[in-house]
Every structure is written in structure tokens, then in C-alpha cells.
């Protein structure tokens, strides 16, 4: 069990796998599983766009 870094919602490990990206059920923030043991999530990196600059 861990929590969303944005809203504090409890997040359970369930069937998540390392590297999986999923939305927080409360605030919708995209989260990434960064570790399974111990179970940790962090804000998922946003897609970087190359705008040709």
C-alpha cells in the first residue's frame, strides 16, 4: 500500500507491474509503478514532444 503523491489517495498493489502507468482513481493523475518491493508509485513522466526546435 502506498499513496498518490498528488491527492494522498491510498493505492493498493493489486496486479500492477513495475513500470505500469495508471491513473489515480481520485484525482486522475497519471502514476507509474517505480518499485514493487517496496511498493512505490510516482508521477508518470509526461510525454516529451520534439517540436523541431
Amino acid at each position: 500500500m502506498t499513496e498518490c503523491p498528488e491527492c494522498g489517495r491510498a493505492i493498493e498493489k493489486q496486479n500492477l507491474i513495475e513500470g505500469e502507468i495508471f491513473p489515480c482513481p481520485d484525482c486522475g493523475l497519471e502514476l507509474e509503478v517505480t518499485s514493487l518491493a517496496p511498493f512505490r508509485v510516482d508521477t508518470a513522466p509526461r510525454e516529451a514532444e520534439d517540436w523541431g526546435e
Binding site: 491527492c7 494522498g8 489517495r9 491513473p23 489515480c24 481520485d26 493523475l29 497519471e30
Partner: protein, 341 residues
């Protein structure tokens, strides 16, 4: 349970009928209207065609029933409330006549001297999220105002914390045309209302008294008419006494509303509908509540959206009826809304 509606020809009466005719535990016995006496109720509420053969009866022909809904304009039921209470064991009044506990406020906000101040202490302010247990045992429930409902639900959790300045609260409300009733006069004419963005009550709106009574805050309320038929959006500005984080706000609102069947916390990181919007709540009994921390200004903006005829009136009244009768609180109120709409 046999229920009747007094003053059922308006929009709130129609919405009550829409809900009650489909409620599994309710039989609607009578719907009264002097102006439409003898006419089918579907004449006033065409969306109910084939659902009922009821006709409006005059107020004077009202029979005893188990529970009575009063859907009359403010002031019309004040004098007759003892008669209504004698005719039905329980009464839910959707007007403002028994919302305020201080009788002096009726002179200030409604320009009347209340004829039954002794009943103001007996009536229960009918907002289940604040007075659920009192509503269960009540005989007289007073349905809150639509703008007040949105503002109270937005502010109540924060007001209980002591984190905000209690005398610096601004509520900016936008409202659709149906909140003005079916007899809205010239202001409701299409030519006047279409495209409107009008500050119709920048100060001293009547609902100020209810919001202050229920939150304990001193509130500056401004109300605007906008281009919508249904819907209230209340944007509430509060100012912090101490530093907090958004996670603190999540904890406060989650504790208040995490188990509420009709209040949803809406504050999402992506998508179109990140904060509450009344558009997708039309016909539902939900009040969506969201918040944003403005660190720059030391401000918390709380936002509530609802359908003024539902959570702001008839839906909330049926929710209260369910509590008074011991039925499941959500019975007959399960509609989840439309999208797109």
C-alpha cells in the same frame, strides 16, 4: 406511502412528480393547483405523458396523506403550515418559509414577519449531508435553496476546520433560468434571457442568510444569470489563516464526502471535465464539489455544481423523504445523467 404535492404546476412540482411517479415505494395521491384545477397534470408537465392520469385538484380539496410536499412560492404556505401538518404526519416544504432559524431574518431578507416563529426551531434544514440524523426524525423539513445548497456543500468541510478567515468568504454563483420558476416574468422571456450574462443580485441575495446559518461563515454572495435552463455553479473564494497543501484539502473533503451517495469530489488532473460543471448533472441528484489551492493569494477556491431542480430542490427533497420514511437514501434517485448533452 401516499404522498401529495401542494402547488404542483411549477417546475419544482413537475420535477417532484417525475421522481415520485417512478419511486417504488410511493403513490402520488393528489397534486394541487388552483390555477390549473381540473386539468391533467401532463398539461403542465408534458414529459410525464402516459405516466399518470392525475389531474390537478384545488388546494381546498386536499385530503389527508402520509407525507406532503409543499412546492409553492415563498410566503404562500407560512400561514397554513399547522393545517398541512395536521393533514399529513410529515411535511417537506421546498420554499424558504421555514429554512431560517432567526425569525428576524425573514424581515431582512423576505420582507415579512414570520407568522409561526415557534415552528422555525422545530423545522429541520433539509440538507442530508449536514443534518441527516435530524431529518430521519423530523416532521417538518425545509428544503434548502438551490444556490445555498451548492455554496454550503462547497464550503462546509472547510468551514469546519478553522483554517480559513471566517469573515472573508465570497461566493460567486451562476444560475440557469429554471431557478426563477415557471412564472419568471419578463426576465424569463426568450428575447431577454437568451445569451444573458447578468449580475442579477450582486449583493444581498436571500440565500446569503441560509449559507451563513449553515456554515457559520460571514458570506458575500453575488449571483449571475447565465445561458442555461438547468444548473448552478458556485465558485467560493476563501482565504487561509495558515499554510496548507492540496493534499490537506483532499483529506478534508474526502473525510466529509467520501461516503456521501450524492456528493462527488471532482478534481482531476486531465480531461475536459476536471472540475465540477453543471452541464453533465442535468436530471441527476449529484452535487459535484472541487477545490483549487491558490498559493499566490493564500486562497482556496471551492467549486460546486448541481442541477437546481434536482439536488437544488426536488431531488434533495426526495432524498429527505427517503430518510424520513426509512427507505434507502438513494431510492428513486439513481439517474446518472447524460453525456454528451
Amino acid at each position: 406511502m401516499n404522498v401529495s404535492i401542494v402547488g404542483g404546476s411549477g417546475y419544482t412540482g413537475g420535477e417532484l412528480l417525475r421522481l415520485l411517479l417512478r419511486h417504488p415505494k410511493v403513490d402520488v395521491a393528489q397534486v394541487t393547483s388552483d390555477s390549473m384545477a381540473g386539468k391533467p397534470v401532463v398539461r403542465a408537465h408534458p414529459n410525464l405523458r402516459r405516466l399518470t392520469d392525475l389531474r390537478f385538484t384545488p388546494h381546498s380539496d386536499l385530503d389527508p396523506c402520509d407525507l406532503l410536499f409543499l412546492a409553492m412560492p415563498h410566503g404562500r404556505g407560512m400561514d397554513r403550515i399547522p393545517e398541512f401538518l395536521a393533514r399529513a404526519g410529515k411535511v417537506i416544504d421546498l420554499s424558504a418559509d421555514f429554512r431560517l432559524k432567526d425569525p428576524g431574518l425573514y424581515r431582512t431578507y423576505y420582507e415579512v414577519d414570520h407568522p409561526h416563529p415557534e415552528l422555525l426551531a422545530k423545522s429541520v434544514y433539509g440538507l442530508p449531508e449536514v443534518h441527516r440524523e435530524q431529518i430521519r426524525d423530523a416532521t417538518l423539513v425545509s428544503g434548502p435553496g438551490c444556490i445555498a445548497t451548492a455554496a454550503i456543500l462547497a464550503l462546509h468541510p472547510l468551514a469546519a476546520t478553522g483554517l480559513i478567515h471566517r469573515d472573508r468568504v465570497v461566493v460567486d454563483a451562476k444560475t440557469g433560468s429554471s431557478a426563477g420558476g415557471s412564472d419568471g416574468g419578463l426576465a424569463a422571456a426568450h428575447a431577454e434571457r437568451s445569451g444573458v450574462m447578468r449580475a442579477y443580485a450582486p449583493a444581498n441575495h436571500r440565500h446569503t442568510a441560509e449559507i451563513e446559518q449553515e456554515t457559520g461563515l460571514r458570506v458575500a454572495l453575488s449571483c449571475h444569470a447565465i445561458e442555461a435552463v438547468r444548473g448552478i455553479l458556485a465558485t467560493c473564494h476563501t482565504f487561509l489563516e495558515e499554510t496548507i497543501t492540496e493534499k490537506d484539502l483532499w483529506r478534508i473533503y474526502r473525510e466529509a464526502y467520501g461516503k456521501e451517495p450524492f456528493v462527488r469530489i471532482v478534481k482531476e488532473a486531465s480531461g475536459l471535465y476536471r472540475l465540477p460543471e453543471p452541464k453533465i448533472l442535468a436530471g441527476t441528484n449529484f452535487c459535484d464539489v472541487g477545490f483549487v489551492l491558490d498559493e499566490h493569494a493564500g486562497r482556496v477556491v471551492t467549486i460546486a455544481a448541481l442541477d437546481n431542480l434536482m439536488k437544488g430542490a426536488a431531488g434533495n427533497a426526495v432524498q429527505s423523504m427517503n430518510l424520513m420514511a426509512g427507505y434507502p437514501e438513494t431510492m428513486g434517485l439513481e439517474f446518472v445523467g447524460l453525456h454528451p448533452v
